[in-house]
């Protein structure tokens, strides 16, 4: 556990010092400007949070991919031996990606409270927004991991796969069958309806968790032969 935590810190430090971290923050800034340049009317805050969560999926994915690709390939081998086994290196990478994305998600939740919403929304909206951004964070982290260099060595193919994967999730989630993919459109639709937290969120969370678990399991399995 200690080795994994140290590796997580090492990977975050590598990412931050390499200045790649500026890219997703620039993406977050652009989305915040688009969503909150006009103040959100009272009663529609949760819908705004849902739009934010849906739009931030590629930003989270870009951050995760950038973090996992920040260190040279040989360093991963060194880290795996230093940590004791390769699984700890993989776990450290995923934990570091999730930690960086958690900072981005926290900003995405806080910015509208300061400048986007007309008034302070209630606890239901805040909890709903938090849940939606957690779902978005996990989805983006999984997509970014699957398009990182150990899995897709070609940067062009990797970037296309990341954006293509996001667009595919958007298009497929337009279909009436919710289980076909991560229901990104479903998040936005459900957030506008009453009783979101108790009614729609659990089902959307289970579907999202299923696909993300599948993607992360595939990533961990592929990394066994792609150190």
């Amino acid at each position: 556990m200690r080795a994994t935590v140290s590796l997580t810190q090492f990977k975050i430090a590598t990412y931050v010092r390499s200045h790649r971290v500026l890219h997703p923050f620039a993406g977050l800034l652009a989305i915040m400007i688009v969503l909150y340049s006009v103040r959100v009317a009272p009663g529609t805050e949760l819908s705004s949070y849902a739009d934010s969560a849906a739009l931030l999926v590629p930003v989270f994915a870009w951050a995760a991919r950038g973090l996992l690709d920040a260190e040279p390939d040989v360093q991963r081998l060194i880290s795996a031996t230093a940590a004791g086994r390769p699984g700890r290196e993989v776990a450290g990478g995923l934990a570091a990606s999730a930690a960086v994305n958690a900072v981005l998600a926290a900003l995405a939740l806080a910015v509208p409270l300061a400048i986007g919403f007309t008034g302070t929304p209630g606890a239901v909206v805040l909890l709903g927004g938090l849940a939606l951004h957690v779902l978005s964070l996990v989805t983006g982290t999984a997509l970014g991991a699957l398009t990182s260099r150990p899995i897709l060595p070609d940067p062009g193919v990797s970037a296309l796969a990341l954006l293509g994967g996001y667009v595919a999730m958007l298009l497929v989630s337009l279909a009436p069958i919710a289980w076909l993919t991560v229901p990104i459109i479903g998040w936005m639709r459900a957030a506008g309806r009453p009783g979101f937290l108790g009614g729609h969120l659990p089902e959307l969370a289970v579907i999202t968790a299923f696909w993300c678990a599948l993607a992360l399991a595939a990533y961990i399995r592929l990394r066994r032969t792609r150190p």
Binding site: S6, Q9, P72, V74, L77, A80, A82, G84
Partner: protein, 320 residues
Amino acid sequence: MRLANLSFRYARRAPWVLHEVGLDLAPGTIAEVTGRNGAGKSTLLRLLAGTTPPTRGHVTGRPPVVGYAPEIFPVEQPFTVAAYLARMAGVRGLTPAAIDPWVERLGMAALLEVPLGDLSKGSAHKVGLAQALLAPPGLLILDEPFSGLDAQARAELPAIMEEVVATGGIVVVSDHQNGLAGHRGVLRLHVGDRTVRPLGHDAPSDTLSTAAGALSPPTASTSTPSPRVASADAFPTPAATADAPSPPATLSPSPSVTPAGAPSPPVAPAGVPSGAMGAATVVIEIAVEAGEAEAVVRKLRADGYPAVVRPLPHAGSEAR
């Protein structure tokens, strides 16, 4: 530590890099891995280190603490030497003070505040070695460790290896530079033709015998025979044979042509019994400058060829 029926290839339909390799490495072993470029030396080292899983077969008995120093240390990282080593010490559960002894022994004091990206090749190599040694390794994997090192570090490295085996550790070295030339007690492994074969095991040196006790002789077995491999006992060390007195006049790439009027070559050269070679073996004589003989022999031996030096009767020395 044992490799059993170990095979590796990079993709499902790709050719085997290593195929059904069996190898036992007893505690207290220093193994030197040789072979041509692309033969699979680095792959073997990564399989041993556990960073790459085998396609088939398995590795058992790997010591829990592994030190791995890559052939080329990755300097494209935004840290100074001190910060990087402190981070690696943290990953191994050590304090930053763990780097101090290695800074001194490898002559890195002036490098500590240098960014990794500004290091020379040799200095970067020292950082790679230091991170592998931070925790006393039960298995130390060194990929071309002598490459680019200065005299101090080059002299220190064999002593460090001896310290590892003295505590029952295993050291596996890929060594094209032949930095272990003349170092006794080294198991020599040749990688080629998708397999790993032992070229021989030198008698332990006095230092190794007293420090580690009697070294258990490792064994290796493979399913695919190699026609080029002969016993290393037949190979005199370059230091013992390369003191040629004067240069020859010509270079002869053909076994049928003998330079400087020397007599026709024998079927097997002096020092290499004909029985040690396969039926398809041929002898190529290469005449070189006397001062280059040792270097040429080292390169040939690093590639697994049974090269020997013998002086020409009238013109000087000859590497074969």
